[in-house]
Symmetry: C2
Subunit: 219 residues, 2 copies
């Protein structure tokens, strides 16, 4: 139906919209897609012709409902495939994204549905991101950053704000596993570092750089 490239543009615009920005400008799309502004203008015109987004010269773009559907469906496929790679094929959470970038463009509604069933209808991908439903509903998580959480509450490590492989590999190194329950025991204003305790009297320390990229849920 839509090309690999078109889906990537729509997904990028969708993600930029989710990050608060009302109208998306040419340069930010170019930056994410590692391409040039002139190329973005070309593609924007084509997507506008196909009613996938609204475009007014020099004013940026916004997805139409039709465009949002395509984008969310691509995100849905991406995250389901990440679950498959992680849960079934035992890839590390730092390895799944690149392969899912390819798999998300496989075009078969039946495949997506059967994959979802095979995976037992997962609600979140290996990075804690929510999986949109078949009808495009995406439950927004009430996660907060670990660096913003209060002491003396039971927190569940539930996601990451930084999806880069280097960050995820660092989390592997310091043995961070999503789903782990923690309580903040100490917050250091000086360097922003945080000490937490886990079940079984174990403790961990997070630098500010790490704490600001871990998402937790208050239990």
């Amino acid at each position: 139906m839509y090309s690999y490239t078109e889906e990537n543009y729509l997904k990028t615009i969708y993600k930029l919209s989710e990050q608060g920005n009302e109208s998306i400008n040419t340069n930010s799309i170019a930056e994410v897609l590692q391409t040039k502004a002139a190329s973005v203008t070309d593609m924007i015109k084509k997507l506008a012709d196909k009613k996938l987004l609204n475009y007014e010269k020099y004013k940026g773009v916004a997805l139409t409902e039709k465009g949002r559907k395509v984008a969310v469906d691509t995100v849905r496929k991406h995250r389901l495939w990440e679950c498959f790679l992680y849960d079934k094929l035992k890839f590390g959470w730092d390895e799944v994204h690149e392969i899912a970038e390819q798999l998300e463009h496989i075009n078969s509604e039946l495949l997506t549905d059967k994959l979802e069933e095979f995976l037992d209808f997962p609600t979140h991908d290996p990075h804690g991101d929510p999986i949109p439903t078949k009808n495009g509903v995406i439950k927004k998580s009430n996660f907060i950053l670990l660096c913003d959480a209060k002491p003396n509450q039971t927190l569940v490590m539930s996601g990451v704000a930084d999806h880069t492989a280097v960050f995820l590999q660092h989390l592997n190194k310091i043995s961070v596993v999503l789903g782990t329950e923690i309580q903040i025991t100490e917050k250091n204003d000086y360097d922003g570092s945080i000490a937490v305790k886990l079940s079984g009297n174990k403790s961990m320390y997070f630098s500010k750089d790490v704490a600001k990229n871990i998402l937790v849920k208050v239990k």
Copy 2:
């Protein structure tokens, strides 16, 4: 590494070579790929430049070892994905090919290897076709056509010569399942039809059109 289109050309040339033809001519490639001879000539030149095949004007083409590797690896991925779709996602054997045509172009050696392991190292796909090994070895099956088999031997239905969905759906309708053991009880020269018996005194009849497209192994 190689484009979707390049892989499809190489796979097509490989399959035509397997069907006995020593040197592959332009028109037969065009027919399989549903494209025009002029387009094939264009692509052939590019593939020859990349040393994936040997080409002499007006003399047809033959894959180089390098080209054969790419083709066989694509076939390997195709058949592994068919196993996944059939065994794990419970697709019918008439549904898997189209989706595997897309999945075979996913580019990740690690993915292919992990998929193979997840599937428990299958040797044959749902249609009875052998799965090439990682190093490109493909065991050629000693299957014969049911219409050529002799009576009073135990035969195992092991594959199909016709891969079209209509044929496979017809086999579903008459309850043909690969792996079933049969013995020919009657061969009718008049219309080429064949009667067989199964375990438990059940019997089946195959028209010539069906019998000439079922592959059996002599037990």
